[in-house]
Amino acid sequence: MKSTRLAGNRTRNVDLVLLFLLMTIALVGYVDLHSSANVAVTGHDKAHLIRLVVGLVAATAIGFRDYRFLERWAYIIYGGVMLLLLAVLLVGDIRNGSQRWIDLGFFDLQPSELSKLAVIIALARYFHDLGERDRLGFADLWPPALMVAFPFVLILEEPDLGTGLVVLFIALTMMAVQRISWLVIGASGLAAAAAAPIMWFFVMHDYQKARVLAFMSPERHLQGDAWQVSQSMIAIGSGGLTGKGFLKGSQVQGGFVTYHETDFIFAHHAEQWGFLGSLLLLGLYLALAWWSLNIARTARDRFAMLCSVGVGAFVFWHVIINIGMVTGTLPVVGLWLPLVSYGGTATVTVMAAMGLLTSISLRRHVF
């Protein structure tokens, strides 16, 4: 068996850089979550710690498995997740006005989170099968376009604009390493420009429009989302260079920032640790994204390479959109910060993605 033959050098090949980045971010995240649990004693920091450990075990398990089983099962997994996405619209729980969750009794499943991984695997499989080819045209690209569009529309229907955008950005990043004809690129650009107003008038929900409007002119929408963002900006801005110190973030500790344990967790971080702390966390994320590109570079096949790019893009765009949102740079779309925000499916999804990266990295020298 191949796998037993590899056993000897597996541990030697463990990607220490990836492990370091993963553990450091998780640690920073836990500290931030702990201070968030200080606002109201809910014990969610402990729950998060358990999930991290469980996630880490799962990631290790995935990491030591040959990723190629995913390649084989790629479309099946994709199809299954798409069914879940359909199911959530039919039988999902409605919370805060959106239908994103399927209650499994012990666990609230969020199919849209899984869809990120499903799209990565499915696209990687498709372009892997396509092989190294020049100038991919419409004929080659409509199947992957559909593969993205289908979950994208379903996710927007929930509605969950943030996740939809991340799926889109992951796909675009994975496309970027393909050789695509300029004609297709130009035409897609035009189509996107034309789609924007259609999206605005026919697809986007009122609350999503409100967020965009609030983002454009915060002073006219001081309540609701804009209030939320302005309080988050006060928290972040008041952190200054070095921050207010552990558990001393008056703004977040005083409860002025809503969703401070999930989407707005970065407010904790930036208020407590200041610009230097923010720079550290952002640096770790950038390093993680770049390291996943490096894993892609050394990956032994196209599927692995594309998966690495996809996972890197997944984490990176999540970070950019999330921090862009809490700093008032982007509209509020509702997206968590990988490894830091509190959330079951989120943690599990990120850890699974990290497991996939580990697996790819572990087998980089296996030719």
Binding site: K2, F127, H128, D129, G131, E132, T173, A176, V177, R179, L222, Q231, M233, I234, A235, I236, G237, S238, G239, G240, L241, K248, S250, Q251, Q253, G254, G255, F256, A270, G274, F275, S278, L279, L282, L286, A289, W290, L293, N294, A296, R297, R300, D301, R302, F303, M305, V309, G312, A313, F316, I320, I323, G324, T327, T329, V366, F367
Partner: protein, 681 residues
Amino acid sequence: MSSEASFGGALSGASEVAHRTRRLVLVGLVFLLPWVVIVARLWFLQLERGPHYQSLASGNFVRESDITPDRGRIFDAKGRVLAENRPSYDIMASPLVLFRNKEVPQLLATKLPIDRDKLDRLIAATQTGSGAEIVVRRDVPRDQVAVVETWKNELPGIYLRISQRRYYPFDSLAAHTIGYVSGISEEEVRSWESTGYTGGDQVGRTGLERWFESILRGAPGLERNVVDVRGVEQSASVANELLGSLRRVEPVPGQELVLTLDADLTQIADDAMARTPSGGLVALDPRDGSILALYSKPGFNLNAWSGRLSNEEKRRIDNDPFKPMLNKVTSSYFPGSTYKVVTAMAGLEEGLVNPKTEVDCNGVFHYGNRDFRCWNRGGHGEVNPSSALAASCDVYFYGLGVELGIDRLARYATEFGFGEMTGVTLPGESAGLVPTKAWHETHSDGGFQFGFAVNTSVGQGDVRTTPLQLALSYAALANGGSLFYPRLVDRIQLQDGTAVYEYPRKARRQLPFKPENIRQVMRGLRAVLDTEEGTAHEYRLSYVDAAGKTGTAQVRALDTARLDGSEALFADRDHAWFVAVAPVEDPRIVVAVFVEHGGHGASAAAPVAMKVIDRYFREVLGMDEAVTAYVDGSDRKRLHELLHEPEAVAAGAPPKVSGEPSAPMFRSPKEGSGSVPEVRP
């Protein structure tokens, strides 16, 4: 693993490796772009705008509450509290919390009689999202306190604050002098912002409360508490850590006033004026100008005016024809015959008359083509300077007035302090009016006429004096010529009783008259009570020599037929005056009584003044036994000792005057003992 080479997507050559690397580097650079944007955004928020957001953050979590200082109490001369503070409950609101709980104002409005619009305005006026607090309702009754306590959990952002309110133990006693306080208006908060007033502060409106506002008020303190988004106060350790020494600024209590007023004598004045609907009374110590009683009628309830004044009460007071809010002792009226001391003094000083000069009064004085009547239509016969004052013979003074001329009369009036403010530490004092030729030229129809001097000589025409001015000028005659500044406040002290300022006993001027002339006028005033012909003879006290002067000031024009008090319309009735000094030797008290539209001075005002003097000696100075002993003849020496030998003076009486005219106006009681507060001259 050779089989891998043929694997579909595996690398198939050096150029493919190079292409993949190029593409991945490109993606890496694409990643860098938004990352730099986010870092730049954080740079902007945390470093460029850091201080701005820090101030916003502190505004968020710091709730500043004013700590109202104890307003300085006011005491009478014997240390009785005239104005103090009592605890009261205010309903407070935190705008930040209400901003997040829109339903609370509505709920509050259903539970309590609170104007919803006003509440909304208050919230809107407070900066959005700030940690400031606002006063929803001051000094609520107990049942409303209970409502707020009961609904505490349903009313986030609404809470109670214990504060202080002014309380006047004697209700309406000396109301005009003490004055009342009331809540600052929205307008005043805006225009007085720089002086540190905030909404809900109490401000002195009348009397001493107003005059000494800056001294009584003290300086507000500040308490900063750390609150969370619901307005719930965080623990003290959190607050200490975040705010440190900035947490609390102690208020500086207001300074206290100790008055020269005697509450008992004020009560005595009130009793004595019981049958009088409107008027005023001044009692002062002629030895140093200390005011013993300052009484104006009708009065008003200070507690009602300092609290939530009901509309009915306000309307009742506003529509009262006797003008209860007017302080009549510092308002000016025709002085009538009490003014004759001016004419008498001028005549003596100018050498127009001497103590022996006699004039024949036949009841009418012809001047020009007019007849000026004496109040005694039958005439007084031969009158000299003394009997002219005693009998208040108008004809005698008409003649003097003509000889003196209006301007010379005015000069003497001014020496007595008429026509200028006395400098009493009360707002709204009238200077009165001493008409001159020049004044008449500009103010009278047809300019100056010679007849005006005739009217002026008997305190008619256009002369106006305040009861306080009269009391001070008579005090100057009684004490041998020192015209004092009225001392209403004896000292200003700290809450613990340490005096910070003592009002000097200071004469405004010495009357520049010959001592024998002053004695001569005093003889005339004494004759008012002592002699059979004296207008107030029947009201004299058996045990003490007193001097005084009646006055009956006509309100209607002089040539209108005089009406008897009972027949005239109230508003047409004469003002009654009596100014008295006792004892004549070593004077201890001067009382000026003004009875508005009271009729004859002798019958309406003199008994009031003499009653006050009588009770002052008996009750306030504690000479009752000595007086009784004197009256029944058992011991005449004791009273004499008490009245004329300072050592024997009963405890509690004002100290003997020590002020020399050149003493500095403001001096600190102790050398270098703190700063002298601002005192309005």
